[in-house]
Symmetry: D2
Amino acid sequence: MSELDIYQKQGFGNRSGMGQRPALLIVDFVNGFADPDQFGGGNIGEAIENTRELLAEARALGLPVAFTRVVYAEDGSDAGVFTLKAPTLKILTEESFSSQIVDQLKPWDGEYIVRKTQPSAFFGTNLTAWFVSKGVDTVIVTGCTTSGCVRASVIDSMSYNFKTVVATDCVGDRALGPHEANLFDMEQKYADLMTSSEIIAVLHETTSIDTSSSQR
Amino acid sequence: MSELDIYQKQGFGNRSGMGQRPALLIVDFVNGFADPDQFGGGNIGEAIENTRELLAEARALGLPVAFTRVVYAEDGSDAGVFTLKAPTLKILTEESFSSQIVDQLKPWDGEYIVRKTQPSAFFGTNLTAWFVSKGVDTVIVTGCTTSGCVRASVIDSMSYNFKTVVATDCVGDRALGPHEANLFDMEQKYADLMTSSEIIAVLHETTSIDTSSSQR
Amino acid sequence: MSELDIYQKQGFGNRSGMGQRPALLIVDFVNGFADPDQFGGGNIGEAIENTRELLAEARALGLPVAFTRVVYAEDGSDAGVFTLKAPTLKILTEESFSSQIVDQLKPWDGEYIVRKTQPSAFFGTNLTAWFVSKGVDTVIVTGCTTSGCVRASVIDSMSYNFKTVVATDCVGDRALGPHEANLFDMEQKYADLMTSSEIIAVLHETTSIDTSSSQR
Amino acid sequence: MSELDIYQKQGFGNRSGMGQRPALLIVDFVNGFADPDQFGGGNIGEAIENTRELLAEARALGLPVAFTRVVYAEDGSDAGVFTLKAPTLKILTEESFSSQIVDQLKPWDGEYIVRKTQPSAFFGTNLTAWFVSKGVDTVIVTGCTTSGCVRASVIDSMSYNFKTVVATDCVGDRALGPHEANLFDMEQKYADLMTSSEIIAVLHETTSIDTSSSQR
């Protein structure tokens, strides 16, 4: 029996679908993760390029857009177990070039910038509260790495009961084995996998997208 | 360049080590996950057997021990996105045979039982607070599945700055590909991998284990 | 200058208003808090009676309804600092009469029962996730005590960006000084104060209440 | 029967005590809250002065020290319900004079600065994780306002099972009625009240304070 067969037999791998009020979450597409000599490589560059159109569509439709950056304090005061496992992360500080969001995806005013020190975009941040303030019911996830901060953010997004969609061509990883393995896990248990083209088509069909619930 | 080489070159895969006040966390070793006809299979049975000795040692040393169970309400009121992806999970209710911890690892009075509806043992639970009340600095993780609730719990354990150790022969999965892939991810970024024998050896050496900080 | 004047001058005390998708949260109206010889007294009995009509209206309109209970483990395993401050709380266990929701407000199937060990209905629970699954943007709070679990729940509700309304005649406390003092604090900083009659009038006017976003 | 009598009869108001590894938390002592024309007044100035000695002692003993600041984004992207209740809070941005920690209590390198948008120092922040990384079991709280961010932080500190102490002469409020009312609530249910002199005396006696568990 194949691994996929085992999951299907046990009842995994169903679709959770998309709701009426989607948001776009762009995880850690910062200079340091775009650079193969720092934390990048693999298919990350391609994923950044593919995210451009999805971001443009999200903006045209008025969807809430959130970005994450990894930001540690200059003085090392907030380093922890994650930086014991990967000490190089500590170069990602507020002002460092490596921690700035890539030029291709520069945030607009009113888009939400999450500063985080842990893998998940939701951990120790106000992202859940921000999505609540925007009436969000669905989170479309792009970013990197698939096997790291994307996976961690997807688990939390699903755990908070946001219907969660991974834009398969808009997530990337420094190594393709973990990329593929994590897409498998996420599809079986946490999120729907869709290409950015498929997502854009659904967004256009969902004529009833309600963006009126913003508090501002 | 191999995937491992890429991770090493970028600074991942270091050891976070063990602290002075470890706890044992046993994730979802319940009847339904021990049964290949429900959510089990693969190397889960073996992992349960291997956990017996580690649990006995932890108890002998007076370490805090916590167990998780997946428990949904009988009336379906707390079903959510996770049960859209895997509707079969809803059979795990307070009284169902499937959701009871396996006989081999029956909890003792004073050990903590976490009821959860999401993958992570920490999500929507008081596990962090319980570890704080016990002065815990290190979490040793066993359970299933490696690619599911173990992985999710390990991310959160590390994110809360508990030094985190995965007992490699005491975690199991219904399919071995995801098991191996997730061990790789966890070792590179979140946790140290050790066999239960290695862990027991360290626990015996750590003569200064301080179990005096319990509040009761 | 009066205390109210100071708050007004500094910019506090504005209204946050009600949104389109309110839910009703009923905090700790259990037998032990209805009994002046246990944790009750003051105006709690009256608040329970006043909540009956609000609950009936919420049900008639199909609003999501959540209840909280304080539930500690029989073996004391999850006692903590709260039970050092108030050891009597430990009598509230799953099966104890004291921890059952009062007969006048008996939950219906599909309404959400939050078991908690801490003051806030949101702390260490999945209440936020449940509200997300129901598309909630506004939380109407009743329950007891005003100066304890109501206040703590209101702070978290507001912090998660739910517009928060305290039903003034449906919250109660064992002592009236703290009741009044906490209503003042909540109105200045966290929530709007409205009587249940005022809330019901607004619910009837809000013809566009959208209860379609439930995931079930 | 007095209000205090009611609380005593019902089992509240016991002491939770201090543990072996205390930390100092200084809430929102920033310029804007030191200024009676912004968010200050009452006994806040006095509380800042009284915190100087406690901070000096904490530093001399090597205790972990954390500060909070309220920091909103310049573009208003993270405003929410709290800023609907109190729109003036939005002036507190990363670079604004009002949001800088007061000169008398200037943080040292390695001390932790929590940026927050909500009342509690723990909500949407990594403060719990930071305390875990330092092995903290007790949180000594100073800051302002007693009825606002101090109270909210104390509830969460206790909920995470940190033994919590409010330094009565080191917390302040713009109005004295709410200050006193919230000290009463906190003592009855969440924290021990001690003067800074009493705290310093205990810190000196606790010869076994263990500051070795820092991860750096």
